[in-house]
């Protein structure tokens, strides 16, 4: 397979418009996400920032179906995806990564990718007995696709290593690579830069940019302001469960209330 970025580059209509409308999620009396609305535009990189405890990851979990919403709707390219379990949300084209990477640790990097594509014939056990040639053919195609993605994500050197044995930064790349295996409409990244060494961070930033150039839509939680300002087209700021500001990076960063919330939250 060619570069995943060029594969989508030929498409005219951009995909991955994610509309969050009046979303709320409480745990007991704590409103983790309180009436949040914003839209990640198709083909853009939207950054979601805010101090620790602002509700960003809870919002991610709610979008991805890990948490049921108390109120509000989530719409991906016009399809309602709220109220569905995570695997169904993924099938609608929304892929996400985790704040702390969750590779399948005892499986190789290649296997981590090959497990992803949906509706593999070999996922039905009886096909291992009665449709062996068909499964083998599909496996060969999947392996080739996975190798392409691995190469694109600069992971070829660790392709056959156990995913639990590679560095945290490489695991973040594995998660991005896994997401790419499903040709998603949008990728949600939860702190892709946290705890990653500068060399790998550059690779991650560069790969995200390259994918975006090919039309991929991203919604990214990130604390690293350099990371955010170099990548994002649009920023959403959350504090104490609510979105308090939204706009271009320079607009948002110039606002006093954002700086207060951010610095106040971090200083606390």
């Amino acid at each position: 397979m060619a570069d995943p970025s060029t594969e989508t580059a030929g498409m005219n209509a951009l995909r991955g418009r994610l509309e969050i409308a009046n979303v709320a999620k409480s745990f007991g009396s704590v409103a983790a996400v309180d009436n949040v609305s914003f839209t990640a535009q198709a083909g853009e990189i939207t950054g979601l920032i805010g101090p620790n405890g602002a509700g960003k990851t809870t919002l991610f979990d709610s979008i991805a179906g890990e948490q049921l919403l108390d109120a509000g709707t989530v719409t991906l390219d016009g399809m309602r995806i709220d109220g569905q379990p995570p695997h169904a949300v993924f099938r609608h084209g929304l892929a996400r990564t985790f704040q702390i990477p969750r590779p399948f640790p005892k499986m190789t990097v290649l296997e981590n990718l090959m497990v992803v594509p949906m509706d593999q014939h070999g996922e039905r056990f009886w096909n291992a007995w009665i449709r062996r040639a068909d499964v083998a053919r599909q496996e060969a195609a999947l392996r080739e696709k996975a190798r392409g993605v691995i190469e694109f994500c600069r992971l070829s050197a660790v392709e056959n290593q156990q995913a639990g044995a590679i560095s945290g930064g490489q695991q973040k790349l594995v998660e991005i690579a896994r997401a790419l295996m499903s040709d998603p409409r949008i990728i949600l990244l939860d702190e892709p830069g946290a705890g990653v060494n500068p060399v790998l961070l550059d690779i991650i930033v560069d790969r995200i940019r390259e994918l975006n150039r090919g039309g991929m839509t991203f919604l990214i939680i990130e604390h690293n302001i350099d990371f955010v300002s170099s990548l994002c087209d649009h920023l959403v700021v959350m504090a104490e469960g609510a979105n308090i500001a939204e706009g271009t990076v320079s607009d948002v960063m110039a606002r006093d209330d954002v700086i207060d919330a951010y610095l106040g939250g971090n200083a606390a």
Partner: protein, 310 residues
């Protein structure tokens, strides 16, 4: 034939039949991470199911369908699968500890049902005098046992081969992904509840197959064959042999059953007559010790899972 080889044949029939059960548990735990703590319950269902289907019609018993053995054993498997489906639907959405507790409880209850539902199971006496498959074709029980050993080896071979093909296929990769991190698998579009249910039912049907074969071999079934101890023995077999490896599951069955029978023999020789019945507890302690020692010194088992490289 010498007394030793006669015993060896008997030993191997039992051990390799436990190997079939071990393969079922390995599919559940070794490949998918499902904690089935009620192995003996599904073994009992397979055994009683087969016994009721094959048994002669008797006035005082429900059942006695007089069906041929292959049908009876498949029927026992189907009943074990059905029970697994019901248990699985109720518990597999929950976290793994709940599955362990639920299956353990169900296995205990089933043993009590076997003991008390006299009109179906024969109660404490069990179901006796079942026709053994093809027994009339053999002159003596030694040659019959040799035949039965061959039968168990063939069935074990078929199960083994089928499982090996399946766990090396993308299906097996999917099971390992669920075992490694079910949240990640779910976030990558995998319906883990369905996968777990599928594996639980398949594994339990193999455990039921083992129960049916056991009854076919000994020709009767009684509640004392289905004590919780058996669940721990099968777990010890899987841990010793190597969870996540089908060869390990079978090897563990042979090794642990050998240790079990030899330790029983040794204890009966050494212990004074008046303490014989209490001495049996030493065997159980040895099994516990073996599990703990394996987990400390060689957690992957004798031949554990092969990982890395594809």
């Amino acid at each position: 034939m010498s007394g030793f080889s006669i015993y060896l044949i008997f030993f191997l029939i039992i051990a390799l039949n436990y190997g079939i059960m071990g393969l079922g548990l390995n599919l559940q735990w070794g490949y998918t991470g499902l904690f089935n703590a009620g192995v003996v319950g599904f073994y009992a269902i397979g055994a009683y199911g087969a016994a009721i289907l094959v048994g002669p019609d008797r006035d005082y018993l429900i059942g006695g369908f007089d069906l041929p053995w292959p049908v009876a054993i498949l029927g026992g498997m189907a009943l074990a699968a059905l029970a697994a489906l019901i248990v699985g639907l109720a518990t597999l959405r929950l976290r793994e500890e709940y599955l362990a507790i639920a299956t353990f409880g169900i296995a205990l209850s089933l043993q009590l049902v076997a003991l008390n539902f006299e009109s179906l199971t024969g109660g404490a006496n069990g179901l006796v005098g079942l026709p053994r498959p093809l027994f009339h074709l053999f002159e003596d029980s030694t040659t019959y046992n040799l035949f039965f050993l061959g039968l168990v080896i063939v069935i074990l071979g078929i199960v083994w081969f089928g499982l090996e093909l399946a766990v090396r296929s993308p299906w097996g990769r999917l099971l390992r992904a669920v075992r490694e991190d079910e949240s990640a698998a779910r976030s990558l579009g995998k319906n883990i509840t369905l996968i777990r249910l599928q594996v639980f039912v398949l594994g339990c049907s193999l455990i039921g197959l083992s129960g049916g074969l056991y009854v076919a071999f000994i020709g009767f079934v009684s509640p004392t064959d289905f004590l919780p101890l058996l669940t721990f023995q099968v777990w010890a077999m899987l841990i010793v042999g190597g969870s996540g490896n089908n060869a390990g599951a079978v090897l563990g069955a042979v090794v642990v059953w050998a240790l079990w029978t030899m330790s029983g023999l040794a204890i009966s020789r050494v212990a004074p007559v008046e303490l014989q019945s209490q001495a049996g507890a030493i065997q159980v302690m040895l099994i516990g010790l073996l599990i703990v020692a394996m987990l400390i010194f060689r957690p992957r088992g004798l031949i554990g899972e092969k990982t890395g490289g594809s």
